[in-house]
Symmetry: C2
Subunit: 189 residues, 2 copies
């Protein structure tokens, strides 16, 4: 899915680019200087939007979360499907999102999680919050779909999709998504 | 599982430490200078073992692979179990290995994969080789266990374990391993 172009220099446009950069080069590589030179903006202009590297990282994570909700969750809520159909639609969109490489470096959350899981602080806390919110959403929809053990089902759905993302990123092997879809089809009520 | 102490200053001892450092700080943070100061050795001494950062990274990956084989694969081959019992033993040791935090930063391969999947070159190739070898071993044992679709089973076993590792690393939540074990128990023949 192509990213919609935002007016250059706005906070929104800067964060769009920051999410893409972070997904390929890591959140730690995301400095105000790097982002300014990449976008042809002044460092002082960027400092006006984000006072520090950490603020930029946090704003980038929050933007990635809004993008994920906008692309995966909201379209499903706007449709009329409910119960098991809604869970299936949500998981389908999730896999399409991962396979479509919306972020050039693959799943933003998997990359950010691997990068920050060993570094306590506000950046890791935001990565946790985003991941926890998605697991909770899967569990809520698994419950509404009548799953016997929604908590377990949410874990397995997430693991299969994350496993496909990991293999696709490392080997460039789209078959992994078919394998995830096969595993998930067997799990869904 | 505690790492056995190796005579200090040997190539073996240096690589033991390098694997631990890489699992917490990333392979990219693994410089000869960083490792030398960490171990109280001279940079020139380390350059004698490894001519460049890239050589050090590759030697570290190869050492991590030997450690994984020694701790997960070989004990199962030394035992007399076969067929489905061997597959179960292999997967049990794999989960114990991940849960035991043999590497302080969690699964070395998951971290290295997330870090290098977008960076083509000899380091990424070694990470691919190690991951592919493990998937192939799981598939071989799934086949010997009489699985209907060994390729699919290997994918799902790996994804559930990787999902548990990811959640444990991010949330410090051991329940994820129980969830992986429950999912795996249902999959095994």
């Amino acid at each position: 899915m192509a990213t919609k172009t935002k007016p250059p220099g706005t906070r929104e446009a800067i964060l769009e680019r920051a999410v893409d950069l972070a997904s390929t080069e890591g959140l730690e590589g995301l400095t105000i200087g790097r982002l300014a030179s990449d976008m042809g903006l002044s460092k002082s202009g960027l400092f006006g939007h984000f006072g520090s590297k950490e603020e930029l990282q946090i704003a980038t994570i929050e933007h990635a979360a809004r993008r994920f909700v906008g692309e995966v969750v909201e379209p499903v809520y706007r449709s009329t499907v409910e119960g098991p159909e809604r869970l299936r639609a949500l998981v389908d969109r999730y896999l399409d999102h991962l396979e479509g490489e919306v972020f050039p470096g693959g799943c933003f959350w998997a990359a950010a999680s691997a990068e920050f899981d060993g570094r306590p602080g506000p950046v890791r806390d935001r990565v946790r919050d985003g991941t926890a919110a998605w697991l909770a959403e899967l569990e809520r929809q698994a419950d509404a779909a009548g799953a016997e053990d929604p908590h377990q089902l949410a874990f397995e759905l997430h693991a299969l999709a994350a496993g496909a993302n990991q293999r696709f990123q490392l080997f460039g092997d789209r078959e992994a998504f078919d394998q995830a879809r096969r595993g998930i089809a067997r799990l869904l009520p």
